[in-house]
C-alpha cells in the first residue's frame, strides 16, 4: 500500500514525487535493518549450537602451561625428578685406604 501524502496548498506534482521517493527510501531502509537483525540473531544462535555440538563431540585434554611469550626460568617447566633439589651428599664419605687403586679420578 502506498502511503498517502498530505496535500498542501501550493504543492506541485514535482514536490509530491520527491516526498514519495523519500518515504520509499525510508521504508526500504527499515526493511534492510530488520533483515540484518534477523540474520545476526540467526548467526549467533547457529554459532552457539555448533559450539555445544563440538564440545560434546571432542573431549578435551590438559595442556601443560610450560611455555609463554616471556621466557621463564626453565626449571619451573622441568618435570620433577629425584635430582631436582640441592646437591646431595653420598650416604658414606670416601675414606682413606691402603688398598691398591683400581681407577684414577683426575681432570679430563
Amino acid at each position: 500500500m502506498s502511503p498517502r501524502l498530505p496535500r498542501s496548498p501550493g504543492s506541485g506534482p514535482a514536490e509530491i514525487a520527491a516526498r514519495r521517493a523519500v518515504m520509499a527510501r525510508d521504508a526500504g531502509l527499515a526493511r534492510i535493518s530488520a533483515v540484518t537483525r534477523w540474520i545476526t540473531a540467526g548467526v549467533v544462535a547457529l554459532s552457539g549450537a555448533l559450539a555445544v555440538l563440538a564440545a560434546q563431540a571432542f573431549h578435551g585434554h590438559t595442556v601443560s602451561n610450560t611455555s609463554s611469550t616471556t621466557p621463564s626460568p626453565v626449571t619451573q617447566s622441568a618435570a620433577p625428578t629425584s635430582s631436582q633439589g640441592d646437591l646431595q651428599q653420598a650416604s658414606q664419605a670416601p675414606v682413606q685406604t691402603p688398598a691398591a687403586p683400581v681407577v684414577v679420578s683426575g681432570g679430563s
Binding site: S67, A78, P94, P101, V103, G106, G107, S108
Partner: protein
C-alpha cells in the same frame, strides 16, 4: 689386578669395573649403549647430534628426545644451584676461545676471543612437549654435566642388567651402582685421569655415589699469545682465574660431584666455604700445590699431587 674394560668415547677414556668379574662383559655392553645414546644427543662435535641441531636452529623451537630433555634439565639445574657459575649456554664462548672441535683436533690458530655466555635463563625447555628453544646466537655446551650424567645413567643401567656392583669412569668422573666390593672401590685421586695408577696422589675408598675431579691442568691450548684452559667463567667467557688447579668432590651421584668440582674451580677462594656449607667432601689443590680438604674428605698428611 681387578678386571676392567676400557675404550675411548665422548672424547675421553671410559673404564668399567664390576664387582663380579663374570658380569663385566654385560655391564660394559650396557655402558657402550648408553654412551652412544648420550653422544648422539649431546655432542658438540658431531653435526647430527641433537645439541648441534638445536644450536643451529636460529631461534626456532626444536623437538628433542627424552634423553636430551633429561640432559637439559640436568644442565639447567647445575646452573641454578651454582648461581650460573656453570652455564650450559657457554657453547659460543668455548667456540670463540678456540675450543671449536674435538679437543684432540685443536690446533694453534688466530688470536683468542672471549665472549660471555648467552645466559641459562634464556633457554626455554618445554618438558611436556619435549621441545627446547634458544634465542638466536645462543649455543649450548653440556660438557660440564653430560659426561657425569652419562656415567650415572650407565652405572645404574649396567648394575641392573648385569647384577652386582658396577663402577663407570668417564674421563675420571666416576659413578657407582649396585653393591660395592666389601672394602669399597679404591680410587686414586690425581690431577689427570690418564695418570699412571701408581702415580702421585691419594687413594680413597668409595662405597657408593659418585666422585668427580675438575682440573685446569688438562685440556689447555694456545691461541696467539694466550694459553687457555677449558673451564670458562660464564660471566666473562674467559678461563676461570686459577685459584685451585684441581678439585675433587664426592657426592650422592657423579652429576652432583661434577657440578661441585667444576663450580669450585670457577668460584676460586669462595669454594672451600661453599663446599663446607653444602657438606660435600672435597679435596682442593691450589695453584702452588698446597692441598686443602673440606667437609670430611679424609686428610692424608702424606698425600702428594
Amino acid at each position: 689386578m681387578t678386571p676392567l674394560v676400557t675404550w675411548r668415547a665422548l672424547g675421553t677414556t671410559v673404564i668399567v669395573l664390576a664387582s663380579e668379574p663374570p658380569e663385566l662383559p654385560e655391564a660394559a655392553a650396557t655402558v657402550h649403549r648408553v654412551l652412544d645414546e648420550i653422544d648422539h644427543a649431546c655432542s658438540r662435535f658431531r653435526a647430527d647430534s641433537e645439541l648441534c641441531r638445536l644450536n643451529a636452529a636460529g631461534g626456532s623451537s626444536v623437538r628433542v628426545s627424552r634423553l636430551f630433555v633429561r640432559a637439559t634439565r640436568c644442565a639447567l639445574r647445575a646452573a641454578r644451584l651454582t648461581d650460573g657459575d656453570l652455564d650450559p649456554t657457554i657453547g659460543s664462548s668455548l667456540r670463540a676461545a678456540g675450543y671449536d672441535r674435538d679437543f684432540a683436533a685443536i690446533r694453534a690458530g688466530g688470536p683468542v676471543r672471549f665472549r660471555r655466555a648467552g645466559g641459562w635463563r634464556s633457554v626455554e625447555l618445554d618438558d611436556a612437549h619435549s621441545t627446547v628453544r634458544l634465542p638466536p646466537g645462543v649455543e649450548l655446551d653440556y660438557g660440564a654435566t653430560a659426561k657425569a650424567l652419562a656415567a650415572d645413567i650407565a652405572a645404574e643401567a649396567a648394575a641392573r642388567d648385569a647384577g652386582g656392583g658396577v663402577l663407570v669412569s668417564i674421563g675420571g668422573d666416576i659413578a657407582t651402582a649396585g653393591t660395592p666390593p666389601p672394602e669399597g672401590w679404591p680410587v686414586r685421586i690425581a690431577e689427570d685421569h690418564s695418570s699412571p695408577i701408581d702415580g702421585p696422589g691419594q687413594t680413597v675408598a668409595l662405597r657408593g655415589g659418585g666422585l668427580a675431579t675438575s682440573s685446569t691442568t688438562v685440556r689447555r691450548w694456545k691461541r696467539g699469545d694466550a694459553e687457555v684452559h677449558h673451564i670458562l667463567d660464564p660471566e666473562t667467557g674467559r678461563p676461570a682465574r686459577e685459584c685451585w688447579r684441581t678439585v675433587s668432590v664426592a657426592a650422592a651421584c657423579c652429576v652432583d660431584a661434577n657440578i661441585a668440582s667444576t663450580a669450585a674451580i670457577v668460584r676460586g677462594a669462595r669454594a672451600p666455604g661453599w663446599l663446607e656449607s653444602i657438606g660435600l667432601p672435597s679435596r682442593l689443590v691450589a695453584v702452588d700445590g698446597a692441598i686443602s680438604f673440606a667437609a670430611g674428605w679424609p686428610e692424608d698428611e702424606h698425600s702428594s699431587l
